[in-house]
């Protein structure tokens, strides 16, 4: 079966969701074509491959589009199951635990973090507290393990680590230190950054910060 005939990733450089897919592809060593989508001027191609949400990332594998980043991660893990690492264990209970935490992060972290840099006053404090609540819970789940996936990056690691690029933005807007509040998680993030797949895929934190400043000025009109 020719699994790797044509693989395209449609993404926007700052998206933490797209970043997950980049890491996954690098981890498995799968070659792909990268298409940068302009989210402020969406293409008809994006509407064709993701008609419901018109969002990135979308993975197009042999002309078949797969949308939603966690879906894409599971799809990549299954299609290229012959390539290590496996992002999910084979035990159903461990798989369920990983999915629970990945969904938890996916559902709550991005929205909470937006309150820090788009919101004002009280809303910023609420956002900061919500982000810290999520990070501390996740840090507790990590415990003593080097990665959520054990010795290798797993589904939860790949879901969470793209947000590391945004720590500087959150800390600067919210006036707090993630290192102080969640030292275990920071240590984990630094371990992740030692992996080439992560270091290559994460956007530069300063670039993200400046981008958000621009967005606030022109898009959110803050």
């Amino acid at each position: 079966m020719m699994n790797d005939e044509e693989v395209i990733l449609v993404n926007f450089w700052s998206s933490p969701f797209g970043c997950r897919v980049k890491i996954a592809m690098e981890e498995k060593g799968i070659p792909y074509k990268y298409i940068e989508e302009d989210l402020f001027n969406k293409s008809s191609f994006l509407s064709a491959i993701n008609p419901v949400h018109k969002k990135v990332p979308v993975l197009v594998h042999n002309h078949k589009p797969i949308c939603e980043s966690l879906n894409i991660l599971e799809y990549v893990d299954e299609i290229w199951s012959d390539r290590s690492p496996r992002f999910l264990a084979s035990d159903p209970h461990q798989r369920a635990q990983a999915r629970f935490w990945a969904n938890f992060i996916d559902r709550e972290l991005y929205e909470a973090s937006q309150k820090i840099y788009i919101g004002k006053g009280e809303e910023q404090v609420v956002g900061k507290n919500e982000v810290l609540r999520i990070l501390k819970l996740v840090e507790g789940e990590l415990g003593d393990k080097p990665f959520f996936g054990g010795d290798n990056l797993g589904l939860v690691d790949i879901t969470l680590v793209p947000f590391y690029s945004r720590f500087y933005t959150w800390e600067t807007f919210g006036k707090f230190s993630i290192e102080e509040e969640c030292p275990g998680l920071m240590a984990w993030a630094k371990r992740c950054m030692q992996k080439e797949s992560v270091a290559k895929s994460l956007p530069d934190p300063l670039k993200i910060y400046n981008f958000i400043l621009e967005l606030n000025k022109y898009y959110y009109k803050k």
Partner: protein, 215 residues
Amino acid sequence: MADVVKLYGVAGSPFVCRVKIALNLKEIKHEFVVEDLSNKSADLIKYNPVHKKVPVLVHNGNPISESLVIIEYIDEAWKGVPILPQNAYEKAKARFWAKFIDDKCQPALFKAIASHGQEEAVAEVHEQLQFLENELEGKKFFGGDNINLVDISATFIAYWVGAAEEALGIKILIKDKFPKLIEWSDNYVNCQVVKDGLPPRETPVAFFKKRFGKA
């Protein structure tokens, strides 16, 4: 060693029902532990410390939370009738629609119900439901000839929406606009495994009357 399976939940929750239907599909014997959500048990808090919500499935002492995660677990831990497609791409599509129902349809439906069928809220819901209507083209169920993850995820649409319409005298699932969804709802709630998992009709009707009914 025999499997010990417990489902913590409340009879009227559509999320709990999803899990019941999945358990029924696989013919898994289980104990249903009724929770009082105004006075949550120590067990529930122990098994779901992050959200403290139902449903929680406990299999041989191991807890799993979040209805869609639980359903995938059930499909992987037990053989029998498959709930997710076998093919990786079809599986990805099923998960996409289940998430769409959870993230977009259900909140929009709740808003439309809570607002007593306010025009803008209903228009928003119709926009989301149209995608599902289109997805049913040429199919009896979202899973094709048999129900799958997507059908189970949409249990709220099949059963609770009608109950809300009756309770509040509103109309959301309009026959002209959503003939396939309405036909699907009838077919779905008449499946034995689904029937066995649903609460009596009075339960959601009474819930909506109490929660949103005009004084």
